[in-house]
Symmetry: D2
Amino acid sequence: MKLRLGMIGGGHGSFIGAVHRMAASLDGLYELVAGAFSSNPDTSRSTGQHLGLAPDRVYASYQELVEQEAQRPANERVQVISIVTPNHLHFAPAKLALEHGFAVVLDKPITFSLAEAQELAAVLKASGQKLCLTHTYTGYPMLKEARHLLATGALGRVRKVYVEYPQGWLSTPEESGENKQAAWRTDPARSGIAGAMGDIGTHAFNLLEYVSGLRVTELCADINTVVPNRRLDDDGAVLLKLSDEASGVLVSTQVAAGEENNLRLRIYGEKGGLDWQQADANTLLVKWLDRPTEVRRTGASYLSATALHNSRIPPGHPEGYLEAFANLYRNFALTLLAEQGGSPAPPEAQDYPGIEEGLRGMAFIETVIASGQSEKKWTKFTL
Amino acid sequence: MKLRLGMIGGGHGSFIGAVHRMAASLDGLYELVAGAFSSNPDTSRSTGQHLGLAPDRVYASYQELVEQEAQRPANERVQVISIVTPNHLHFAPAKLALEHGFAVVLDKPITFSLAEAQELAAVLKASGQKLCLTHTYTGYPMLKEARHLLATGALGRVRKVYVEYPQGWLSTPEESGENKQAAWRTDPARSGIAGAMGDIGTHAFNLLEYVSGLRVTELCADINTVVPNRRLDDDGAVLLKLSDEASGVLVSTQVAAGEENNLRLRIYGEKGGLDWQQADANTLLVKWLDRPTEVRRTGASYLSATALHNSRIPPGHPEGYLEAFANLYRNFALTLLAEQGGSPAPPEAQDYPGIEEGLRGMAFIETVIASGQSEKKWTKFTL
Amino acid sequence: MKLRLGMIGGGHGSFIGAVHRMAASLDGLYELVAGAFSSNPDTSRSTGQHLGLAPDRVYASYQELVEQEAQRPANERVQVISIVTPNHLHFAPAKLALEHGFAVVLDKPITFSLAEAQELAAVLKASGQKLCLTHTYTGYPMLKEARHLLATGALGRVRKVYVEYPQGWLSTPEESGENKQAAWRTDPARSGIAGAMGDIGTHAFNLLEYVSGLRVTELCADINTVVPNRRLDDDGAVLLKLSDEASGVLVSTQVAAGEENNLRLRIYGEKGGLDWQQADANTLLVKWLDRPTEVRRTGASYLSATALHNSRIPPGHPEGYLEAFANLYRNFALTLLAEQGGSPAPPEAQDYPGIEEGLRGMAFIETVIASGQSEKKWTKFTL
Amino acid sequence: MKLRLGMIGGGHGSFIGAVHRMAASLDGLYELVAGAFSSNPDTSRSTGQHLGLAPDRVYASYQELVEQEAQRPANERVQVISIVTPNHLHFAPAKLALEHGFAVVLDKPITFSLAEAQELAAVLKASGQKLCLTHTYTGYPMLKEARHLLATGALGRVRKVYVEYPQGWLSTPEESGENKQAAWRTDPARSGIAGAMGDIGTHAFNLLEYVSGLRVTELCADINTVVPNRRLDDDGAVLLKLSDEASGVLVSTQVAAGEENNLRLRIYGEKGGLDWQQADANTLLVKWLDRPTEVRRTGASYLSATALHNSRIPPGHPEGYLEAFANLYRNFALTLLAEQGGSPAPPEAQDYPGIEEGLRGMAFIETVIASGQSEKKWTKFTL
């Protein structure tokens, strides 16, 4: 009953390729059967071999993978294709895969530019296929709980949102050494017009909109390149106007020396606030105006159904990043399998990021960079 | 290149069976191909179907599984059998599997009694096979780091060890309702002579010995049954004499209302101390006599090779219980695969709990229960 | 050897008056001997009586206090006058006290407007007296340590500063009820042109400049009044350009429902970062690019002399807000006593906020409110 | 309206003398007017001078202080005498002070031996005076809240109590150097029959009984001297039987290298648990069987009256050890002042440790040391 999975990108040394494979494996809902793991055929071949794939399903290019798999019998060919390449190599394989009738999992940001994203949206619509965009952090169960609390009005109207994603790993000119991650992420030709804002700012933006249910309407950005000779931004802060008269602040930096990946989201409504951070991902603090703060915990029986659906083990046994990532793959699989079975997927299965999130993410990148270059305070966010 | 895995136990509703499957899947090193998931053939069959197994490899009993798999061709039959049944059903299937030439993964405690464990040790030795005992918590990377720090003498001679495993889930008479977990874990016929001490006290004991490198030599136990009519202990505290003139305290309780599973280990040497707890599993505090406490973190570049070997993703992206569990499966697989390849497994792969830990765990159970019934202060720990 | 202290303001029900008295008492360096505790003579009298003052030293107005104390013999009259009134009543009594030869302790913000602050600076200079401005938070020992680390270059050049002061107590229209604190703090006639930015934003601003050693050069503010009908801002966020090419973000809000007073400061340099928050005031996290985070703690032997000077008890016994406040009073007293003794005060005693901090605080208020009303992104910070 | 205070002990270099003075000063309820600060008259004189006392009220011995103060006019002589000497010098001055009609504040443990404590109890009773024993930790507001929650049955019957007091400062043979604290605290002639158990174990014991309302009925101790050549215990762990069928564990050690003073108390009842630690003294975690843990915080409006009575400032501004200590002095003063005024003190003012706590503390010391030397498991706790 497993979905047959193919992968584009993710050869030896790829961080995110391995993550996708673990996330897809965890729940036994996918079986990796094909791949074009690298534009270097030797790398692709050796990766496939290492992963135990049949040699004839390890391809030298993404075109080969898509076209040859499409010709295999329906009960043998891949059903889902994961694309885990750098940003400039998202659009073309995604388009090709969709056009050949495959469901697609795509790493974020969805494409190299907003224009590409819009074209991909059209392709997707025409194809009738499904697409999952791996904004991992939305997979954390306690963020599902946070979203549920806000959606049900438990905290009243939202007034203020703070989201921050500080990293320290680009505090030095890593890209001038052998760090392949640093090299492509700071290269405008592969990453796009944004560095930190594209890489992690989009995660922060997505999380804010996903959990709060609000939309950014205007923003004011301070965008910096702190490390000399770096070619893209590595630091920024953004004032936000949000729908429903709320406001916010978004911080994203890769030069906060000593920081790991402590994404944090705080949302305050009329009656209380929410505080979540990745460093303590299984805890959601729910703060109240006039009674004690509550510590809600992954897996606890008092949680909402959506939070419990996205958790696997009893409370107190920590679930982490891979489990959050796997929640995206799992929900996507449950949706695909339900449709194969002819019934609509339940709402909690349909809860994974897709093309809408991709489009807004690209619009965020373009708006925030434009604002950074503007002398006006506020720049409208349009899509 | 995946190891073919069979499973005994773990039918629908089994907590630990699902955990074993996720742990085995995570790194793509095992493929579940056969199972006898329940003593109820229907349950076994439907579980196997749900998991997508071929019907002819879903068996009605563990004997069938072992005997029929043994008759399959070498390149098809299972290579490893995971046994995830209640304690009273560990020994017989493990013995049978070993005698038929299979490697075995066994949930803890290893058997129902020390006598069984000793007999299993003999069977294992005679079989020439390998056995992995899933003392999950030893799989956490920061406990590998802790062990490394102590083994290399960074903290001087160990003087004091505190280990505690508080749970709250048995604060009420859960076993009188529909909770199957509670039912067998409080039943002497299925669990053995100990309740909390067998279920979680053995984990605490194992962790203490594994990380410190010390051995318990004498102990003094206060063993209680707090909830009325419960048939086994649900609470206890133990004073410990340890090798090398150290001493310690072990706490294990299932009636600490409101606690989840916050296993915690603290070890103090002449120069400093270590503090780890499952609730913050990716952090190891290293305390020093005369300089600031250090916060060591999973995945950080400054960690020991053994800690890094047992981690998968960059620091700040939390790894949890399933990853720790998967480390046991992974190291066991790396050991088996190396041997299949004719070369000895590297030391970090051989770092998984086995028969020795199983024997000591059973001796712990028998000693701690005996001490609980004794009016003497100290009871010798012998094996 | 105690300094004789007089107090203006701080009658029954005043929060900050009681705080000043406790802070002044703690180290036995001041003795409260006189007061004009309220503009209501009865309140002043009963407060003085409650505090055990001699009736003839309890005055009906600040003018009486200053003028009559000045006529007492030198060995009897007050030496220091603390002014703890609302903002609009800072300037006049401070001016009068200085002109009559008294040292002054003044609550922040220093005056009602920048113009008043500038005039007070001139009065102070002409008087030859000393003034201490109670920016309490700079008194925390771990912020002394932070400042020391940055000043000595341990973290390299500072790149990024985040400071935030979230409160929740004005999430509802408290000022329409009986809350006197809320009433004057949201009243432009008593508080000045700023609400939250004046009340707590100035603390955040002061802390940032004090600890980092940098100066704000330009800023871009989003200033909001969230609670309907409130007359001053209750929320804001500010992008900052700082001297030496650094940048930062300042957040100050009083509508973060459920938050207490968790002032937090994070500063990142080329080699590492610092993280301090009032909720865990005795801890300073020092983060490094390539080695474990250090947990520095109040009172520990490895701290700088300045941090140890501002601490009283052994590590692990928490020191709090009153101790931080008392550090300002203590350092001010040590400075005054040293001068009385004819010798210059040691540097660590001279480390208390004064007129410069007051001027910059008022300039911050005026600049940040102007920026909030501007459509330009950046507004210059001049003084 | 201040109480006139005299002090015995607390000369230059005394840690606890300075703490008593700060605690007594904080609330303006005491004025230090006399002292016999050292058995060395020169030290006593220079300490008194430094503190600004009148020279004729600085005495060369405690006898002088008591006898000469007793001869002063009633409106001038001291009303309360604080005794802050090492343990062997508690009994004689306390007895003398009580017999001369003074109220007494005494540091813990109350005396050198249980026999002395019993004699002191008789003296106290005969004198009609009051005595306050400074078990500081009971002054923390969140422990008042904890006690209140248990006393009102919110958590059901108490089942399990864990209390621990780990320190690291005696990990090395400090007493062989110049550390005066270490010297007397490890000296049987000055400290009594117990080291760590007397110094900090008594605090842990007192806290357990005070907060839980239970009484220790039997105990089983493992008492160790870890550092070679030390003359008293520096480490121990104790199993406890408590009244009302509860049980517990008490840990007290001074060789937990790297630990500060993280006293921690956890109490579990049928419905939930409490968790408090000095390192985060303004937080009380209240855990529940089936709903989220609550974070109760010092100063919050939802707290019990007794918790609020023992707090001074708004929530989020931390209160620490000195404030807890000051709560003892304050409650004692409020009691004495009420009686002077002819009215009984309100219950919250009478909430300070006294002779009963002193007697039980000494019985604890004698019982725990006896148990440490016994081969029987359980030793009865009698008084």
